[in-house]
Symmetry: C2
Subunit: 307 residues, 2 copies
């Protein structure tokens, strides 16, 4: 594939940044890639495993001369990082990010950026429950969505170039506005994560069912919740604090519906339950048809067997 | 492997029964296996795909001469099926079931059974979101738990023989009482299922986020919920109606905890959120260590890619 950017700087070296790096190098999408992480330990790990062509000890050094700078830090610190790097940006450079929340990131980052750089916020809908510099792999974004959320008046060429990078990673790219983005991810990601965290917490609290039993017998559904609930605590704390309104709205609706189902159980209303469960089945079929999951009957079990 | 039962009858021919059949045949665990399903269409499908050595058109015919009879029907109809088959049972036979709820099944089935048969309720913690006679496969129970819930005074030999069958399927077998069983599965399976159903229902209701968007962008967590929420509606209706108390108790606790987290979000209490999310991560590690899931970083993604 053709090179899209000559110099790229990755700020924050976790799952997303490391996956971006390996994908850029595999496909020749970027020339030199510099990297910076706040923690000295992370920088050391990065140097050890060859993550980034050059690991820098300051943000200023990392962004110096870069054509694309991608903020891969928790959304709660995006503003501070933007303020720190702003004086060192090359005129004409593009700044992007990979945060799970967009309105808040735009509000916090934009004011710091000089007029002569382009800001094209992005959000790849990809991840695993692992985090840190060792967790990345170049296939992470393949056939996953990356949502671009450009602010009004952004240079179309800057957007097109960032799109080319993500498409180079194998991602499916779509554009939408920040408001809509934050609601969509509240439904498809943020509320489900909070719910999974809650259910896992309940299980942990319930002393009559011993920890070992909850773990032993997890295959019945609970296991899928723990996978979600194992994600990075700092990232998710920031997500909920910065996408507060949309998440609380969805959780409010969730609670309403849950109460209606609880009432149906209490009253023995089998018809209500059956109709509800039949409806939710159709959504699952849609997801399989959309290619965002597999229909394999023993899905996810293969690796879990004891030898 | 050695034959455990000479004649087995499977009543109800869905995911569990068909998986049991293929496993029994693969390993020679049973001599002749008869099968019965209420629906003529299911019986026809079973004959077509060779599911059961002999598909019978009545329960009486299926259980005639059987050493083991396994009720693989929704828990809501276990009592009726038991009443229908009771007069035709061979003295000394063992009756078992695979229902997800045990106290209710024992209450409904026991009164119908003659004194000269053994009743050993069982619950394999295994399944997929697929159902019906075509959905079974012989590996379904491998390294999964099967809980035996014998009533007091049951012949130890009858229990040991049923255990041998399940161990023959590759399952890990444990015994516990009905009350405890129903609470454990309420935590690890029933409550998570109701919660997943609810979240999928909320997404479906939310018209501002179009259906196609919810489906397109599902990889962020929602996808795992839809997998759970695609399970058989009749089976799950019956589970909630028959394990009412334990499920409602767990849901009550869940709602309490969810409210506490919602309050933390509303008040911007990042410390509370971070501490909670850190705690739930540990449970996930326990599950991986217990061999009930895999730690692979791109878990579950392989099959979902578009070519």
């Amino acid at each position: 594939m053709a090179q899209v950017y000559e110099r790229v700087a990755l700020i924050g070296l976790g799952l997303i940044a490391s996956s971006m790096f390996w994908a850029m190098k595999r496909d020749g999408l970027a020339g030199e890639v510099t990297g910076y992480a706040r923690s000295a330990e992370t920088r050391e790990t990065a140097r050890e495993i060859g993550l980034c062509d050059r690991v820098c000890d300051s943000i200023a050094e990392a962004v110096d001369g870069a054509d694309l700078i991608v903020l891969c830090v928790p959304v709660g610190v995006m503003g501070d990082v933007a303020a720190e790097m702003a004086p060192h940006l090359k005129p004409g450079a593009t700044v992007s990010d990979v945060g799970s929340v967009k309105r808040d990131v735009i509000e916090k980052v934009s004011p710091h950026l000089p007029d002569n750089v382009h800001f094209v916020p992005a959000h790849p809908l990809a991840g695993t429950e692992h985090s840190g510099p060792r967790s990345g792999f170049p296939e992470l974004f393949e056939n996953r969505w990356c949502l671009l959320v450009p602010v009004e008046g952004t240079d179309p060429d800057a957007i097109a170039r960032l799109r080319a990078l993500w498409e180079g990673f194998g991602a499916l790219v779509e554009e939408m506005d920040a408001e809509h983005h934050d609601l969509v991810v509240a439904v498809t990601s943020h509320a489900p994560h909070l719910i999974a965290y809650t259910m896992v917490g309940v299980a942990d609290d319930l002393r009559r069912v011993t920890d070992s039993e909850v773990i032993k017998y997890s295959a019945g559904g609970f296991r899928d919740f723990t996978r979600i609930a194992a994600s990075d605590p700092t990232m998710w704390r920031d997500v909920f604090l910065t996408n507060k309104e949309a998440t609380l709205e969805i959780l409010g609706r969730f609670t309403e519906e849950l109460f209606a189902l609880q009432r149906a159980i209490r009253q023995g209303d089998g018809e209500h339950l059956h109709a509800y469960f039949t409806r939710t089945r159709a959504i699952r079929r849609g997801i399989i048809e959309a290619g965002q999951d597999t229909d394999a009957p023993d899905f996810g079990r293969g690796g879990g067997r004891k030898e």
